[in-house]
């Protein structure tokens, strides 16, 4: 029942998104703009500092992720369909998981474009340890989206949701960003510093567990008005 509900919500979000691709296209465009804007800040004489690629990658993911979160829940707010979901006899945390999976798919597609783009623009050896990079990206996006989905869902009732989402999301997800950036930066060294990357990965997964547990635990009481 739990998994079936989560997958139903995911399938529904997918059906909406494939019709227009609106969130995917706008999010990607925004992510690429972020990369360019930050390039102008960091690149000097055709060279960026060695760690810049890692920072820009994660900032682009975090910023475009916020955009995707806002838009995804705007769709549930427009005709108050989030309430209709909450009225269904399904376990409510399953709705959270369904929405979370949708955001994760979007962020994964986001990263799929961003990583090669940044590797190309900054001649960064991002693919030196593909598995570790993949795990860092997975751990980072799960942590970011776990908090983001919960907060975007609860802010749906608030008039000031557009402002409050980034205000709440960024301070709380700073450890996720630090782990992601430093882990990725460790991989960019030559030779890649695997020990450091694995250490950051460990902290990241511990964070994911804490965030997911808390979110599943608080979703139901947070959603009752």
């Amino acid at each position: 029942m739990f998994l079936r509900t989560a997958l139903l919500v995911l399938k529904k979000d997918f059906a909406i998104e494939v019709k227009t691709l609106e969130i995917l296209v706008t999010t990607l465009f925004f992510a690429v703009s972020c990369v360019l804007v930050f390039s102008f800040a960091f690149v000097k004489e055709g060279q960026a500092p060695p760690d810049a690629a890692a920072g820009i990658l994660w900032i682009a993911i975090a910023f475009s992720g916020t955009l995707a979160l806002g838009r995804t829940f705007e769709r549930e707010r427009y005709a108050e369909t989030l309430r209709a979901l909450l009225l269904a006899p399904a376990p409510r945390p399953a709705l959270y998981v369904g929405k979370l999976l949708g955001i994760l798919v979007l962020l994964a597609l986001d990263a799929l474009i961003l990583v090669p783009l940044i590797a190309l623009l900054f001649t960064a050896p991002l693919f030196a340890r593909p598995l570790l990079l993949l795990l860092l990206l997975a751990g980072g996006t799960v942590g970011f989206a776990a908090v983001g989905t919960l907060f975007a869902a609860m802010l749906i009732r608030s008039r000031t949701r557009d402002v409050l989402l980034p205000i709440l999301l960024y301070p709380i997800t700073v450890p996720v960003i630090i782990c992601g950036v430093r882990g990725t930066a460790a991989l960019l060294e030559s030779p890649p510093d695997e020990t450091t990357a694995v250490m950051w990965l460990g902290i990241l997964f511990a964070l994911d567990v804490v965030f997911l547990t808390l979110a599943l635990w608080t979703f139901e009481p947070l959603m009752t008005e």
Binding site: V147, L150, F151, M154, L155, R157, S158, R159, T160, V163, L164, I167, L168, P171, I172, V174, P175, I178, C179, R182, M199, I203, A206, L207, V210, F211, L214, T218, P221, L222, E225
Partner: protein, 222 residues
Amino acid sequence: MKKSFVPLAVVTALLFVIAPILIARAPYESEMLLIQKIFYFHVPSWVAMYCGLLVCAVGSIWYLFKGNRVADRYAESAAELVLLFGLNGLVSGPLWARKAWGVWWQWDAKLTSALLLWLIFVAYLLVRKYGGPGSEKLAAAVGIFGAAVSPFVYVSVNIWRTIHPKTSVVPDIVKNPAKGFAAPLLVSMLAFVLLFVLLLMVRVYLAAHQDALDELYLAHED
């Protein structure tokens, strides 16, 4: 207000009178000289801030799951005190840093992680202020996540940036009371924690009266 308030206030006042005397008599630290005395103000501020963080988190959990209004008052009041004591620490920290490292802000691990946690609780208060009806619940979530993320903030910032030259200064001082730093520090800490408790009591008292006033407004309309 509770009966314990007045004796507690007297004890706190006494401690705040004794502390400066002890601090003045404490030996000068060999490298930092006078500026080291900020320490007796700086560290207790953080201790009080973390007390606030803890009270806010427990109050938030209590409110979210039990719907207890009193718990919400404690959470809100504690968050405001996090703001106050955190500001204390954030102002006194750079004063020290200027003298110790020659710059106001050095992205030192302890100071940076404290700043991040402080920001989370500023966000908590922003939600309460601008979130509209029902924002107490949203704020409770921020309080819970803020407390849960605090060890991670500390660990990650610490690994990212460890240049705090005094990483072990607190345990050192407590372990070696002979140096004469421990007594004034402990008295200052106790004074700040008691001050925190007193302010919390006053603020909760005020919140309870605000609620009572709201009730009266509602009753008046009947």
